[in-house]
Symmetry: C2
Subunit: 450 residues, 2 copies
């Protein structure tokens, strides 16, 4: 479904302050178009939208649209208004949302919330957002080990309404101290004798994860097992459940951030509805580092002004060598990032990757070198120029491809973010090498060029 201008539908319902019309517009256009529509409303209209909707509906809306956008909208509201809305959201979403806010804004909202709810959110906020604790749902259905299948079925039947919120697929069996003993698959209850003890049909020694487990490891757990949810424990005590949904959300967030970080948007995600200052500033902080790196690389050219002045056509080939090496190197970076994500290489497989990339670098270097050599020869009718330009591109392609392949692994090995740092390091090094090789060979062979 797609609407031409969802914000106009929203805007007219807001202007009429007609709650029913607004609800029906939101329902008709669905969460994706709602997200798109809201991002085009003026801040004042956004705030009014929430006041017309009421807390529960506003909470539902915030749960459905991208978190980042929800955080942006919440920041426009007063702390009291925001608290009333946030309080109606599921606990894990509350924490995810508040984690996107500035710390003082989040605290202001928490102080306005009922203190028991606020404490639970504060507890969740203590875990890093991409750890099992940060992702988990702190609500679950647990039964004592002494209960029977009939007890559990009766309890579930009796509290159907209350549990319907939980999307119950698993229930957990715990001891008196809250320690996790086993997992009950709700569907297994159907197949079991009513008088069996829960301990008979539970899966004993269940897979569980510690609250601090990071995203990448949790992903491994879900890949190795086809469970829909995994219990989370803190010192053996069951504290929550991570569902595949939450993992997927986290991976989605992660891969979106990777894409942006690879182009140097580092300080958090960017949406075009954010203030210009934030958007320009975040991009600029990395660009200004890049200017310095570029000046560094260009300083190699400055050292060879004499040969450039004598053989001015070399200036035509400098940007080509820089751009082509960057492209070849970035391909190798992308393949390494991909293989890291798939788990097919580990950071310490550096030498293996290097060997593999050197062969590609040799083949592609030779091919590209030949191509550019022919172009240079055809244009200037000077075979030595062709040889120099082609040779420089060939050598530099080899360097770029080899470096591009191992950079993400090496950066991961020393604890840096490969998505953010691979690009600038790669292009600076390959620019410097490329300029140096081309101009240095040209200097030593200047007799054949002038």
């Amino acid at each position: 479904m797609s609407f031409d201008k969802p914000w106009e539908l929203l805007r007219s319902a807001i202007e009429l302050r007609d709650r029913e019309a607004l609800e029906s517009v939101l329902h008709d256009i669905g969460p994706m178009e709602t997200a798109r529509g809201i991002s085009r409303l003026e801040p004042l209209a956004q705030t009014e939208l929430f006041s017309i909707l009421g807390y529960q509906n506003a909470a539902d809306l915030l749960t459905e649209i991208p978190e980042l956008q929800a955080a942006e909208l919440i920041e426009e509201l007063s702390a009291a208004q925001a608290a009333a809305i946030v309080d109606e959201m599921p606990a894990d979403k509350q924490a995810d949302l508040l984690a996107e806010l500035a710390e003082e804004d989040a605290e202001a909202i928490l102080t306005e919330m009922p203190s028991a709810d606020a404490d639970e959110v504060r507890r969740l906020l203590e875990y890093p957002p991409d750890s099992a604790g940060g992702m988990m749902l702190p609500e679950f259905v647990a039964f004592s080990a002494t209960r029977s299948v009939a007890d559990v079925l009766d309890d579930l039947r009796g509290r159907g309404d209350e549990y319907s919120d939980y999307e119950v697929q698993y229930a957990y069996v715990i001891d008196a101290g809250g320690h996790l003993l086993g997992v009950l698959r709700v569907r297994d209850l159907i197949f079991a004798r009513r008088d069996a003890a829960v301990t008979e049909i539970m899966l004993a020694d269940p897979i569980s994860v510690e609250v601090r487990l990071p995203l990448a490891d949790l992903r491994d757990v879900f890949e190795q097992h086809s469970y829909l949810g995994v219990p989370v424990t803190e010192d053996g005590v069951l504290v929550g459940v991570v569902h595949r949904d939450q993992l997927d959300d986290a991976i989605d967030r992660e891969s979106g951030r990777t894409l942006l970080r690879m182009t140097g948007i580092a300080g958090g995600e960017e949406l075009r509805s954010m203030p210009l200052r934030t958007r320009a500033g975040r991009r600029l902080s990395w660009l200004s580092i890049n200017v310095v790196l570029n000046l560094l690389a260009a300083s190699v050219i400055a050292m060879y002004q004499d040969i450039l002045a004598e053989v001015i056509v070399l200036a035509v080939f400098l940007p080509i060598i820089s751009d082509m090496s960057g492209c070849s190197g970035n391909q190798a970076v992308a393949v390494s990032m991909r293989e890291l994500t798939l788990g097919i290489v580990k950071p310490r497989d550096l030498l293996h990757v290097l060997r593999k990339e050197v062969s590609v670098g040799l083949v592609n270097g030779a091919a590209l070198g030949l191509l550019i050599a022919s172009a240079a020869f055809i244009w200037q009718q000077n075979p030595v120029l062709g040889l120099i330009v082609g040779g420089a591109l060939a050598i530099n392609t080899l360097i770029a491809v080899a470096l591009g392949g191992i950079l993400p692994l090496a950066l991961r090995l020393v604890g840096y973010d490969p998505a953010l740092a691979s690009g600038p390091i790669l292009t600076t090094v390959t620019d410097m090498c490329g300029f140096f090789v081309l101009l240095n060979i040209a200097s030593s062979l200047r007799a054949y060029l002038v």
Copy 2:
């Protein structure tokens, strides 16, 4: 879990031809390390691994490792051996795997399979891999509308073993012609009266999708509803179920491909265990187009050789302008790609994005221009040189950011792949503009420079 050299564990078990040892190694190291280990084995050892494991175990192994790698391994085997292994896999995985192979290889394997199984796979292969039909599991549990809750429970209890493979969360209610009438949540059966008709507790008018629905739309459906699976129909007849798992796999595949395509690896994914010819060739096909685009851009420099010869320092700034504009433009491309994925912008929101990017381009262009102008002035003590270089970068940043923002939308609008085409178009245009602006202004102000 992570092992230092999983391939050595595998290799020694293969050398001993010890099936039990091999199985226990595979179990201990888990699927991720298995994938990593296998990618480092020699082709002969890979083939032997399968013959030692036996068909069922080999099929399980292929289901667990990345599809792309599984396809590579299958291509090493004889068609008969491959068919025996593939036949043991779940039907949807069979189709996914065979879709990765060359058409004649897939057909050779299918002819060796039992014809009923082969026909089912052929039917699935007819749907595009990223459509609901291509992703769906063609097996499901369905009951006629005339049955009662007690019937269904008895049937499920009686055939527990058979259904245990299905991860049954939903069962479907169909009419005599196989048309979908409603969805039964298995967990609702627990809460229902045994004598109720299934039509009383089923969710009538269920959400269902047509076999041809593409990935992006299917994603919308799963985002709008929190279902674990959605029934797939062809002309109203239930033909399969898509689970969130399958959708996630498809999205994962898609985002991996996007990353690679953005660096010009277009002809399919790349793994380092693939033959050198494939790897070098796929990368090269795009790089050689890029050489031509680069020569095109550099031809602008060639037209201005006179001014370059007179003011040789300009040659130092050409690669800087090219690289910085590329970076600024690529940030805008990344934000647009991200917003397209999140659904916050649609291709036709072009003007909105353009407005938003022009403001960032103005701010960042001014900032970067000032930076580079200062550097040029400090280095050469010539204020006019600073002005020219800074002005050119400022203008070109504005062009690059505006173009980068709208390119992905414009390409999507005319049906091209923005991930593949945005980069080369962006850098070629911004290089040409950048070189032209810098050298043209310099020519007209040459009196102040020489």
